[in-house]
Assembly symmetry: C2
Homo-oligomer: 522 residues x 2
């Protein structure tokens, strides 16, 4: 009798991560047609913005959509960025899990090295076509077609040609043809995505040419680059045993002590000495490569028992109150706007984050529905709009838990835009598609506090406006009598009717009108 | 001036899928501590059951949990299966995306080749320890420690030794040590997972030794193996252009026609001739390897326009009414049980699936809460219990949409167990963690119909029981008078009191009691 196991294991195969995501592309956001198209634009635009900011260039991005048939579109995303060097084009666009971001502890839009390769995979799976790339780094320019060898997760380059760098605009331009996609005017469309991108990135100029050929540009409302985040050192409280163990074994330091002090945030020589005193069994002068797992466990336990200065949040760059104000004023022109920037906080012990929130009321706030406008919640993580999976997101959870009626706000029936941006070196997403922020308690709490603060501003505005309306009503009532009163006073006093009427009107207006105007702009 | 791009791309790296899932392990189900422990057991038990069924062995599985400290546990899962051949142990347990299942179009619990390697990854990341494996294939036995080289997604084997196959029990035994895990008695615990596994797999014997040392065995309620599903041919309506194109190019057939007829379900020579007549521009006698993408697109469009016999559902093996009844009777001992097996249906055009549903009422149905029992929904996909992410699942959606009050059922306050199993070669999961079934309309509809049918059964039972209770009340009222009535009748007729009383009692009992008993068992 042969072994059953041998028979079964004849079928044993290894698969590449490309094959996996090709088969399970709904996990990357390629599920419904509208979502798939927005996902493509999102991936390319996020990569462009990360590259442009890293190269300190004010971004100007073109997104062009051409409809071929009902579910088939051409997509072009072109930027004025640093381009991709020839040697990296294939890997950057056609190797899943390759890139410049995954391993860097730095606040960026991308984190995983899946996005652009996912687009190439999706083009290939739905139309069988590679994507076409033109890249100019300034001194060199190049074009080619890029596909993925999914069996090996390797790029396949074809139709490659060098270009004259003087003729080509500096930057990256990608053209792809996709099927199983659709453009519409919903809340989940490319248009909404780009509008929100402009809102959270007022230094960016984005032009959309939609499938009808209509061109719309979201202009810059700020002409300076945001501050650049630095690569952050990990905080001792944000480390797992395996982080510490692996970093120690990869370290170039000679001694455990210097490894600690040079590698981690808030780690002074004094802290190292304290640890030494506590953990006499560990030799702090040996090479960090000799640190055992057990020692790492003891060290992590000791870290958790010590008091630490909170992590340095200077590695996190929020959008900033001024920029949010400029962007929301320029795009929504609200009657009332309240922007709150919270102080840096920490989640899971060692990961700093910053919450910004704004509530815009009136004007073009909210969204159009039959017979008026209704409220809308706009979620962002590191300035990237999150349009999908709102149900599982910390922002939605925080917004739902607020008793809006207390603030006189009714999201269902009023023109309100609620804006929340969470900035962090490590945003905890709940899925590969990165469309919702995991419901960490500390993050939800911060969002709630920020929203309640902004809501109080709206409450004041609404209160003042109501008082102003009442006042306006009284003013009109009284004003109706000034004519007759002036005549009566004139006949009693013998003075000029017009003069008396003029004075009376001023008096009444001063009492009601001026106060109202001040209150209305508060 | 140097190119900015060169500077940025100095940071370019490629990452392995192991690194990716190590960093994003919440995507595999390693999020909360309780869920992480259940995920480990789920992955090992699912693999064991797939292997045992493939080898046609009645499964007996041992799960043993030892608590080391509050969040650190040893886990052993041992089966009586075919084992893993020596050459495959490393890859099967320590290479993400490797296995016997991913590429086979066949109904199985596992689909992806991530599970067991994910466990190894999690052990390593939380305790720094490899997993220990003993495998006996019957003729050969072997043990070793297995870890993952995450940088390369390759296994690292240590402490390997050949064993005497006569001394070792045939099967696979895995021991791992994990931290960031926790055992409790919640609905999401290992205990509940195994109980539900037993419910959906009545041919399986599972023994759990919990961290308190308490041993509990879920015994078999059926002594025969379920039918084996076959490898299914794809149905022409379930193909995408890229499926067709890639299968054609990988085909060993000489001609397009024979490729079609031999590869796909329901594809007769007549169908091929019809296509030929329609698509004169395609050469059906050329090699399938020469089929172009454009031709594939035309073919898929033609497939969609033709009428096809629905896919053969004989490749899908549901649990079966008898087995579900046996399992639920044995584990829940309900007062009333209604099991529904629906006919095979198709979702997304070409994927057949079968829905089975049952409602158990009374006895140990539902779950204990303070002061009584409440209802519970048990979701299964290919017999695997789904304990998490219920909010996004098609089963929950279907159950929520039913107006239970119409059937006299109140899930909040009655002891009801709702059981739903969806069987398919391709279950559309909504995430890598495979804990919820995507909300495909056809699947939701089938679940609803099955549940409504079962609910009608419960409704009849509840109605009958109420009538029976009323009847019992009347009987008791009348019975109270038989003593006095007998005496009165005796004094009037001069007959014996006891005899009259005896007759009266029989009469009353016959009228009420017998009918009631029949009704109660319906």
């Amino acid at each position: 009798m042969g072994d059953g196991a041998d028979e079964i294991f004849k079928e044993f195969r290894e698969h590449s991560v490309s094959e996996f995501f090709k088969k399970n592309r709904q996990m990357l956001g390629y599920s419904s047609r509208v979502r798939a198209l927005t996902t493509i634009v999102h991936e390319y635009v996020s990569n462009s913005l990360d590259a442009l900011e890293e190269a300190s260039i004010l971004p100007a991005i073109l997104v062009r959509l051409d409809r071929i048939d009902e579910t088939r579109y051409k997509v072009r995303v072109a930027d004025n960025g640093p381009g991709i060097p020839k040697a990296f084009i294939g890997k950057a666009l056609a190797t899943v899990l390759a890139g410049t971001k995954f391993h860097r502890n730095m606040q960026q839009r991308g984190q995983q090295g899946i996005g652009a390769a996912g687009c190439t995979l999706f083009a290939q799976a739905t139309t069988g076509k590679p994507v076409h790339v033109i890249s100019s780094t300034g001194s060199k320019a190049y074009e080619c077609d890029v596909a993925i060898d999914t069996l090996h997760n390797k790029p396949v380059i074809s139709n490659a040609a060098d270009l004259d760098p003087k003729a080509a605009q500096r930057g990256l331009s990608i053209d792809g043809e996709f099927s199983s996609v659709k453009y519409d005017n919903s809340d989940h469309s490319v248009h909404e995505y780009l509008k929100r991108t402009a809102l959270a990135n007022p230094h960016v100029e984005i032009t959309l040419i939609d499938p009808e050929g209509k061109e719309q540009t979201f202009v810059r409302s700020v002409e300076t680059m945001p501050e650049r985040p630095k690569v952050a050192k990990l905080h001792p409280l944000g480390l797992s045993v395996s982080d510490l163990f692996e970093m120690a074994h990869a370290s170039q330091n000679n001694k455990v002590t210097s490894f600690f002090v040079e590698t981690f945030a808030r780690f002074s020589q004094e802290r190292a000495n304290e640890l030494k005193a506590q953990l006499a069994e560990i030799d702090f002068s040996k090479s960090p490569k000799e640190l055992t797992w057990d020692e790492s466990e003891k060290l992590i336990a000791a870290f958790k028992a010590m008091k630490w200065i909170a992590p340095d949040a200077s590695n996190i760059i929020p959008i900033g109150e001024e920029r949010i104000t400029a962007a929301l004023q320029s795009i929504l022109a609200p009657d009332s706007l309240h922007v709150i920037e919270r102080k840096p906080k920490v989640f899971s012990g060692g990961f700093p984050f910053i919450v910004e929130a704004a509530i815009a009321y009136g004007g073009n706030s909210g969204k159009k529905v039959d017979g008026g406008r209704t409220g809308v919640i706009m979620r962002f993580a590191n300035r990237v709009p999150l349009l999908f999976d709102s149900g599982s997101c910390a922002v939605t959870e925080a917004a739902k838990s607020i008793d809006w009626k207390r603030y006189g706000v009714d999201i269902e029936s009023q023109p309100v835009s609620i804006f929340v941006n969470v900035s962090s070196v490590y945003v905890p997403y709940s899925g590969v598609g990165k469309e919702s922020i995991a419901q960490e308690e500390e993050i939800i709490d911060e969002i709630k506090l920020a929203l309640m603060d902004a809501a109080r501003g709206v409450q004041r505005f609404i209160g003042n406006r109501e008082r102003a309306r009442e006042s306006e009503g009284k003013y009109k009532t009284i004003a109706r009598y000034t004519g007759q009163l002036s005549k009566d006073l004139a006949s009693i006093t013998g003075k000029d009717t017009d003069e008396i009427e003029g004075r009376l009107e001023k008096l009444v207006a001063k009492h009601y009108n001026k106060e109202e105007e001040k209150a209305g702009k508060a």
